[in-house]
Homo-oligomer: 332 residues x 2
């Protein structure tokens, strides 16, 4: 099966072809990377008519349950949904944890939905380096809505924000001081904040938390900026889920006049990220095979040179060799 | 004040000099990086007689309160303690969140302790790129115990594990499915697991959780490997804290015969990480100024070439020019 045939089968919406293509783009083998580039080029242009949503938040906020409920809502509205869950634990254990569990069972069983855990990837490639490519494949296969689920706080969220239209932060009562401390960061990146678990004994706490975030987001708002929404949901009781999807739709509608431009800019940033990651991998491999690296490493091992000084010395030597080619061959 | 004088003042244990030096190693300015390398070289060899502990875990597990209690325990045993708290939110907001809060007030007020939030750093440098260097500075200033506090799951923990002797995972009841899903990962990297909040209405849940982790760690144990401990604590009621420090001491004692070798290996890996980070920064700067990059970026913007294909094409062109220098100047 060559890559152009694979592209054709993805366009026809064949799930087996889609799953195989995602495995291909996630591979780090040089041969597979080349094939993935051919495949992604064959599927151009990227679709501009899809809805791309990130669902992010700390462990225990109920993200998976909320996505399951959102999925039902999306399908009831006649759209097909793909969920890519970035699995933060895969980099530790080498295997996917999320894949082991019975998550999103309703969605996974439905022909109108596609659920796939996505490994967080190596240090070199950064977080979810391949998740954006998997998203493009899902869209090409006819999924109108793609949800990217991420766990955690910090840098990974900044990266994920750059591949979606609507970044949704999900919180729940009881997260403690550190989650409260995230407020400042949230104001800068979240398009929507959802306080989940607004049910049973947590309902009052959830309501109070939602008001706190509303105040924080109002204070942090820049002049001329749209007022961002804070919503209350109970994923387990499926309350507030329709209002959440309406809010996501409203963010998409606001974005409509500039969406093509936003996505063009995002593509360019992903090109830059991919290039930096590719070059760093190649240069690192070249350096690690060099005698100079081995000699420096031995000095660091013996403790006579600091890691920082040794790294700077080698990096200084390599820098001048990085020059753009004089006549880049753009036909490739 | 030159860097050798700064090194001398750190060795004398001057807190102001230590704080200034940490600011220097955290700086990303090229000039400061060069000065930091000189400073770190002047403080060689790194101490081999210190205790390096990571306290890691999800938001809301009570890590800060536990560290405050551990700090009192350590000082009661006649040792000086430094705490470096990696702040995951600083990469989003640009400012430090932890620094805003009244955390570890007892420790911060004590002459035998030093508390400092450490920014998580940019994408380029990776997580806590400078935290290891700050730790080396604290040790040079006479702190016998260094605790690194980290939030979150995934890649950051693997990085932090590589700068400590004892990686301690702190959990609390009620974290939900995702935290349970971490078990597989924990078995591979944690030297100790602490279930905190074993008090009041959570005590029974905490006890049950501790038993679950004990079983999981027992099952995941490799042949010949030491049985790893699971401890119950109540940081707020200061129960189990002395036993936790005894357990950390026991891990250190087990490590004693091989500690110098472990730290040599860690240093070499940090050299490698630093080199990759330094190269990535330089590559990024070189790319952004090049004409070839701009031309490709325009094609990606227009949607006629995929980010992956464009990145691979440029990376392929650069590869042949990457050669190690023939005679590396090791005197630098």
């Amino acid at each position: 099966l060559n890559d152009l045939e694979l592209a054709e089968r993805i366009r026809r919406g064949e799930r087996v072809a889609l799953a195989r293509a995602i495995t291909l783009v996630e591979s780090s083998r040089a041969e597979d990377r080349a094939r993935a580039a051919v495949l992604l080029d064959a599927l151009l242009p990227e679709r501009d008519d899809t809805t791309r949503v990130a669902i992010s938040g700390p462990p225990g906020a109920g993200k998976s349950t909320l996505i399951e409920a959102l999925g039902q809502e999306v399908m009831a509205r006649g759209q097909r949904i793909a969920v890519l869950a970035i699995d933060p634990t895969s980099s530790i254990s080498g295997g996917s944890i999320l894949g082991d569990k019975h998550r999103m069972t309703e969605l996974a069983a439905n022909e109108q939905a596609f659920v796939r855990p996505s490994p967080a990837g190596s240090t070199l490639g950064g977080i979810a380096r391949r998740t954006r490519e998997a998203m493009i494949l899902c869209e090409a296969a006819g999924f109108d809505v793609v949800i990217i689920e991420t766990v955690g706080v910090g840098q990974s969220e900044v990266t994920v924000k750059d591949m979606v239209d609507c970044f949704t932060l999900v919180l729940a009562p009881g997260g403690g001081d550190e989650i409260q401390g995230m407020k400042k960061g949230i104001v800068e990146i979240a398009d929507l904040v959802v306080v989940n678990k607004a049910d049973g004994s947590l309902e009052a706490d959830a309501t109070r938390l939602a008001h706190e975030y509303m105040a924080a987001m109002h204070i942090g708002r820049h002049e001329g900026e749209r007022e961002r929404n804070v919503l209350l949901t109970s994923a387990t009781e499926r309350r507030g889920v329709d209002a959440l999807w309406d809010a996501i739709d409203a963010v998409e509608a606001d974005l409509a006049p500039v969406r093509a431009e936003l996505r063009s800019e995002q593509r360019v940033r992903w090109f830059q990220r991919s290039l930096i990651a590719d070059l760093t991998e190649r240069i690192t491999a070249a350096i690690e095979g060099s005698a100079g690296f081995g000699q420096r490493a031995e000095r660091v091992r013996q403790g006579v040179e600091s890691p920082a000084a040794a790294a700077a010395a080698i990096a200084d030597q390599f820098t001048p060799t990085i020059e753009p080619p004089r006549s880049p061959d753009l036909s490739r």
